[in-house]
């Protein structure tokens, strides 16, 4: 363990990553294999093996450098920060040769020419151009060229997805009217699907290049040379043809001449806070709406569950107990996926906000039910007995004697859960909700100012959750009149 840690530190301190690669005889390339076809993805026939045109390209590059290639899995929209952290040697995963990327990191010469493609449902009116999509719900991959182009075009009802598979699934589920994505992905995923169609010609062509840390000049030079050789000897063409992504536009690879890139400038979002804070606050509003509604749902559903358990008999009791155990024993992420992507298959189509409230609310309901149960059980038996002895029914006894006392005991854990949910709600970005953490992520991605934005975001979370905790203290004190 310790050896591993110092080993990594040693590599980052080496003069150039190229030396480190050659010393260890292995290059580590970062990519996202989740929904990654045809770039890099698990072989459907042999899932433990990775395939894809970038996978084979990595092997070819490694061969040129005289080493072996090893894939380091990393979420796509976090590839650049992971590179900067030193998680791998370079990014080889559909990274666009944009001015922004060239300012932040070192970019190699291109190995592939991509273009954007609009995909729609086959039976829908065809949308051949971005202008046709004004006001329509359109899905794009987070931090992709498609996101930037569609944002610049404006007027679209944009939904940001963490992966391409999800956006196409929502297109089929009619949550979207179109998806804009890189052509190779469209060719691989959408073209074979009989319900989807590539609408209009590809547009906005650009290059994919390899991303390295800015200081790794020697590595960059070695990669440039290797790519050039692989392009010239048609290895790249052979690999691309194998995956059905070669077309005439790829000829531009040979004519590529790197143009000068302006030196990168650091953006301080803290200094420019009037520009960034409102964006974050808009995300915070979604977070607040989401957590308040979800918590309201959780508090009420939890009460129903605990009453079923305390007052009910037989099947009702089992149902409540089973619900709590199943929900507690499965990840929230999976529950959200099931609600958002699974329910449409049985005809229930919720929008992302409703699905997020439902998912968070029903998940926390289980934990609220347990909080209530602990509260109720900590009220001495004598309270229930005294009530029954007076002729009150069990429900009346709960309603007038046990629950009011349990309430005070339950406030601290329920507040804790509320604050926890407040922060956990960031998980709903997986179903395209853009809340505070997602806004942070998107801004950090474009400015690379993780610290400044992180501080602002943390401050907003704190400013919102601390009053909740103060309110709970106040409420708890107010309800304590009985023990003076």
């Amino acid at each position: 363990m310790l050896a591993g840690v110092t080993g990594v530190a040693g590599q980052t301190r080496a003069a150039d990553t190229l030396d480190a690669i050659q010393q260890r005889g292995e290059l580590r390339w970062g990519a996202d294999a989740e929904g990654g076809a045809p770039y890099v993805y698990p072989d459907p026939d042999k899932p433990e093996r990775m395939v894809g045109f970038e996978c084979e390209l990595a092997d070819a590059l490694a061969a040129k450098l005289g080493v072996k290639a090893r894939l380091v899995q990393n979420q796509w929209d976090q590839l650049v920060p992971a590179l900067q952290r030193g998680n791998f040697d370079f990014i080889l995963n559909g990274l666009e040769l944009t001015p922004e990327n060239r300012q932040r990191i070192g970019m190699s010469r291109p190995y592939f020419v991509y273009a954007q493609q609009i995909v729609t449902r086959r039976e829908a009116v065809s949308f051949a151009r971005l202008d046709d999509l004004k006001g329509k719900p359109v899905g794009v991959l987070a931090s992709s060229v498609a996101q930037r182009i569609t944002e610049k075009a404006g007027g679209l009802d944009l939904r940001i997805y963490p992966g391409n598979v999800e956006s196409l699934r929502d297109l089929k589920a009619r949550r979207l009217d179109a998806v804009v994505l890189d052509l190779p992905i469209a060719l691989h995923y959408a073209k074979p699907d009989p319900t989807l169609t590539l609408s209009g010609p590809p547009f906005a062509p650009g290059f994919y290049g390899i991303g390295v840390r800015p200081e790794d000049k020697a590595l960059l030079a070695a990669l440039d040379k290797a790519i050039e050789e692989l392009v010239q000897d048609r290895t790249v063409e052979r690999i691309c043809r194998k995956y059905g992504v070669w077309d005439a536009t790829q000829d531009r690879l040979r004519e590529y001449r790197p143009d000068a890139v302006a030196a990168s400038q650091r953006i301080s979002t803290l200094r420019e806070w009037p520009k960034y804070l409102p964006l974050l606050l808009r995300g915070a509003i979604t977070t607040v709406e989401l957590s308040v509604l979800a918590m309201a749902l959780a508090v009420v559903t939890g009460l129903v569950l605990v009453l079923m358990r305390v007052l009910g008999f037989g099947p009702l009791r089992w149902l409540a107990r089973g619900y709590v155990e199943v929900i507690r024993g499965t990840p929230l992420l999976i529950q959200l996926f099931l609600i958002y992507y699974g329910l449409p298959e049985v005809g229930i189509r919720l929008n992302a906000f409703a699905a997020a409230v439902l998912g968070l609310g029903l998940n926390y309901a289980a934990s609220e039910a347990e909080n209530y149960r602990a509260g109720i059980e900590s009220i001495p038996r004598g309270q229930m007995e005294a009530s029954l002895a007076l002729g009150l029914s069990r429900w009346q006894a709960l309603r007038h004697v046990v629950l009011p006392q349990a309430l005070r005991l339950v406030i601290p854990p329920v507040t804790n859960d509320f604050i926890a949910m407040f922060k956990d709600s960031s998980i709903v970005s997986v179903i395209t909700m853009v809340e505070l953490t997602k806004v942070y992520g998107m801004l950090a991605m474009s400015t690379y100012d993780y610290i400044g934005l992180g501080l602002m975001t943390a401050a907003i979370y704190f400013a919102l959750s601390y009053p909740a905790s103060l309110f709970a203290h106040w409420l708890e004190r107010r309800l304590r009149h009985d023990r003076r």
Partner: protein, 250 residues
């Protein structure tokens, strides 16, 4: 007023009551004595259905409940509730509702169970508080009262349902000696007013003075019963004598 026939109760295979019979007429005060674990508290809890007897029959104020199983149907539950309303219960640990004021404690059941209006139930509560000598504590919370005061409120709370019978389960055992008298005074007054009462207690002086009949419980059975003079002065059984001498030494 009260007729109990062959009451049997077990907890996890251990038999606590071995077929107890008991009959009591209106206005009679019966004191149950006996060593701890002899089943006297269980007997009392069976009477107002906090425990459901395994077998036997309980009749209080004309309402009969059979032992055997918890009430299943709505009618059975209603019968159980009516029986409970006939029998007021006072617990060793008071069991006042700490989140309600003294008046609210007393007024809750009449208002919720009998539908007495808020004004009438509060008036009733104040009247009963006066009776137990605590009219000035109406607005206090239980936590602000001494143990003796709490128990007197608990008695008022039980009386508010106008029960036919009052059951006292060691009402002074949780109290410091100097606080016991104020509770016993209330019990004496109830006896004098002709309330039908069953009192489980270790207060032998109270038994001597106020009981119409003393019942000595031993090992889940009524071992010996009779007027206080007979039980205290001429106990028939060796067990009774032994118990009384132990209690006297305390």
């Amino acid at each position: 007023m009260i007729v109990v026939e062959s009451l049997v109760k077990s907890y996890n295979q251990t038999r606590v009551l071995h077929g107890v019979d008991h009959a009591q007429s209106r206005g009679e005060t019966v004191v149950l004595i006996g060593p701890s674990g002899c089943g006297k508290s269980t007997f009392l809890r069976c009477l107002n259905q906090l425990e459901v007897a395994d077998a036997g029959r309980i009749t209080i104020g004309g309402i009969t409940v059979e032992g055997g199983r918890p009430p299943g149907t709505k009618e059975e539950r209603e019968l159980q509730r009516r029986l409970r309303m006939c029998a007021g219960m006072v617990f060793q640990s008071f069991n006042l509702f700490p989140h309600l004021t003294v008046v609210q404690n007393i007024a809750l059941a009449p208002a919720q169970v009998k539908g007495v209006s808020p004004r009438d139930s509060e008036a009733l509560a104040r009247e009963l508080l006066a009776k137990v000598g605590l009219e000035d504590k109406a607005a206090a919370y239980p936590g602000q009262l001494s143990g003796g005061q709490q128990q007197r409120v608990a008695i008022a709370r039980a009386l508010a349902m106008k029960p036919e019978v009052m059951l006292f389960d060691e009402p002074t055992s949780a109290l410091d000696p100097e606080l016991r008298d104020e509770v016993l005074r209330v019990l004496r007054r109830l006896t004098e007013e002709g309330m039908t009462m069953i009192v489980v207690t270790h207060e032998m002086q109270f038994a001597r003075d106020m009981a119409d009949r003393v019942v000595f419980f031993d090992s889940g059975r009524v071992a010996e019963a009779g007027p206080p003079e007979q039980i205290f002065e001429h106990p028939q059984l060796e067990r009774t004598r032994e118990f009384l001498s132990k209690v006297a030494k305390r």
